[in-house]
């Protein structure tokens, strides 16, 4: 294939044979209980320097309790996939956990914009579609996937994609390198102790992200019996053999919402999104993350029953979520 143009960005890449070998040797196919608390899960499966991916966002079904635990454990030099991201990437950057971000959409508030402008955080521009296709390629075990976005634009030039002449049509087509993250963190409505998991509502890239990642931590609103999956196999999104750890995390998406359980906390969200300077950010991190030891303690001391009840009461739409 004739290479017509190469994007200039560095990109995270694992040879599909190396990924397969990792899956063969390290992905646990035993029917073994993987339930653990978030502290153990993050200690065991998130390392400084990892490429980290997560599903959905800080508004809806994002893995916020796991993000807070990563910050608490002061993981460093993460490279994150900000496909559809808002405040979690801002918090990770504020805590000094992240130095590279692949961007689909990054809710650039003034705080993160400054981090990018002064070079503390390096951003690689892709798009939501191209990053999603990269995860699909990673999940399929292939080295790249062709697609017809990015073509012609500066977004392409600043990405890590390559344009070649398609041998079938003779037209230029973009090749997106597969993305196999080191670790994925995914919040779901229901999981069993082995890691079988399902989500309700739009999925963004739940399965692709889990399937493409070397290590996978699931946090779940509720833990259910395995028979629940066997009763409705169409609804199983993630099978157990993709998963390394299961964390029971009710209100795990807070301050975002989880469909069928609770709505987002708009007040907390606004407070967070109005953070402008370093001082305010460090105060927030101290108040809501460093000063508590666990998600349970966070809910008890920083959210409280009154707020929880209010957010549960707001979540009255159940259609499709049961």
């Amino acid at each position: 294939m004739e290479v017509l143009e190469r994007g200039e960005a560095e990109y995270h890449f694992i040879d599909p044979d190396d990924f397969r070998e990792y899956v063969r040797d390290s992905k646990n196919r035993n029917w073994e209980e993987k339930l653990m608390d978030e502290s153990d899960a993050v200690k065991k499966f998130v390392d400084s320097g990892d490429y980290l991916a997560y599903d959905f966002s800080s508004l809806t079904r994002g893995p916020q309790s796991l993000i807070r635990e990563i910050i608490r454990q002061k993981k460093r030099k993460l490279w994150i996939c900000a496909k559809f991201t808002l405040l979690e990437s801002v918090l990770l950057a504020g805590a000094g956990c992240v130095d590279r971000i692949d961007v689909g959409f990054l809710g650039f508030g003034p705080y993160i914009a400054r981090k990018v402008q002064n070079g503390e955080v390096k951003v690689y521009d892709w798009s939501n579609g191209s990053i999603t296709y990269r995860l699909i390629a990673g999940a399929m075990g292939i080295p790249f996937i062709p697609a017809r976005d990015l073509l012609g634009t500066d977004t392409f030039r600043k990405s890590g994609a390559t344009v070649v002449r398609d041998p079938f049509t003779g037209k230029p087509v973009a090749l997106m390198p597969a993305l196999n993250p080191d670790v994925a963190i995914i919040h779901v409505q229901e999981a069993d102790v082995y890691g079988n998991a399902r989500v309700y509502g739009p999925t963004v890239a739940t399965l692709e992200t889990a399937m493409a990642s070397k290590k996978v931590i699931i946090s779940a609103e509720r833990i259910v019996e395995t028979v629940e999956f066997r009763k409705e196999p169409n609804m199983t999104i993630i099978p157990y053999y993709l998963v390394d750890a299961v964390v029971h995390a009710p209100f795990g998406a807070y301050p975002g919402g989880t469909q069928g359980y609770y709505e987002m906390d708009s007040e907390h969200y606004l407070m967070l999104s109005s953070i402008r300077d370093e001082d305010e950010m460090q105060k927030y991190l101290e108040e809501y993350i460093y000063s508590v030891d666990s998600h349970d303690e966070f809910l008890e001391r920083k959210v409280g029953m009154k707020k929880i009840r209010e957010l549960v009461k707001k979540a009255q739409i159940l259609e499709g979520y049961r």
């Binding site: 402008q117 999603t132 709505e263």
Partner: protein, 257 residues
């Protein structure tokens, strides 16, 4: 009734959509456009959201931050993945796309990434493409909605996030983009444009009531092609404004911005 620039643009955009078509809907203003169109003009339009909601009957009022949540994805036809949502567009199933932009050039290339000369040290940094690049690359007809300010209409965008008709001298097809796609209308707070069939340059086809052609062109960094017959855009109707203000966005999250 008096109306704001945003209300003006929303109403123009809502009138452009055709019924029994599919539309890729982005965050914020496009959501409100789609809701208004669905209520008044196009009851059978199918909205498609990138995170994986197809054909929702979104609840009103519009609430901040609920895009992927139960209100906005209420009674969808299908919930799916982002990969599938974009693939519907890439395979040709999506008629309309609707995008905002920080900058636009005469060929309809748009910038939603950064302002400044140095990419590494941007003067202003925006959220980036999101799904905008896919919408502009794949949808049959892309509608761009933006405030009419001179600094936004530029010779060359500081950063081309999403493709227009001619990109640094190359046509869309030469770049490998799908045939017969591209920006179709540009709606601003002062005017409406399409693109000249031959030159692919933005063409002024209508101006807002009370404004002259010169009022519009003086606020642009390049000179558009002029249509033979430049129309006057009908202002928002009382009915449109009532639905917008009372039913769709009573908190003014989008229309009062």
């Amino acid at each position: 009734m008096r109306y704001t620039d945003v209300e003006f643009m929303i109403c123009q955009a809502a009138r452009l959509l055709e019924d029994n078509r599919t539309v890729f809907v982005g965050w914020g203003m496009p959501q409100v456009v789609a809701m208004l169109a669905e209520r008044l003009y196009t009851p059978n339009i199918t909205q498609v959201f990138e995170f994986g909601a197809i054909g929702p009957r979104s609840r009103t009022p519009f609430l901040r931050g609920t895009m992927g949540g139960p209100q906005n994805t209420y009674r969808s036809l299908q919930w799916c993945s982002m990969g599938l949502a974009f693939s519907y567009a890439q395979a040709g199933y999506i008629d309309y796309g609707m995008l905002g932009a920080a900058q636009i050039d005469k060929y309809g290339n748009i910038n939603s990434t950064m302002i400044g000369e140095n990419y590494e040290r941007p003067k202003v940094r925006f959220p980036g493409s999101g799904g905008g690049n896919e919408v502009a690359s794949y949808c049959w007809k892309t509608v761009i909605v933006m405030n009419h300010e001179k600094r936004r209409f530029v010779e060359r965008c500081d950063f081309i996030t999403s493709p227009g008709h001619i990109i640094d001298g190359k046509t869309r097809e030469e770049c490998g983009l799908p045939r017969d796609t591209g920006p179709w209308r540009v709606i601003t707070s002062k005017a409406m444009f399409d693109f000249d069939e031959e030159t692919k340059i933005m063409r002024l086809i209508a101006v807002r009531e009370g404004l002259s052609v010169e009022d519009v062109v003086n606020d642009m960094g390049f000179r558009p092609v002029m249509a033979d017959d430049i129309q006057v855009l009908e202002p928002p109707t009382d009915d449109e404004l009532r639905v917008l203000r009372e039913e769709i966005d009573p908190f003014g999250l989008v229309i009062k911005k």
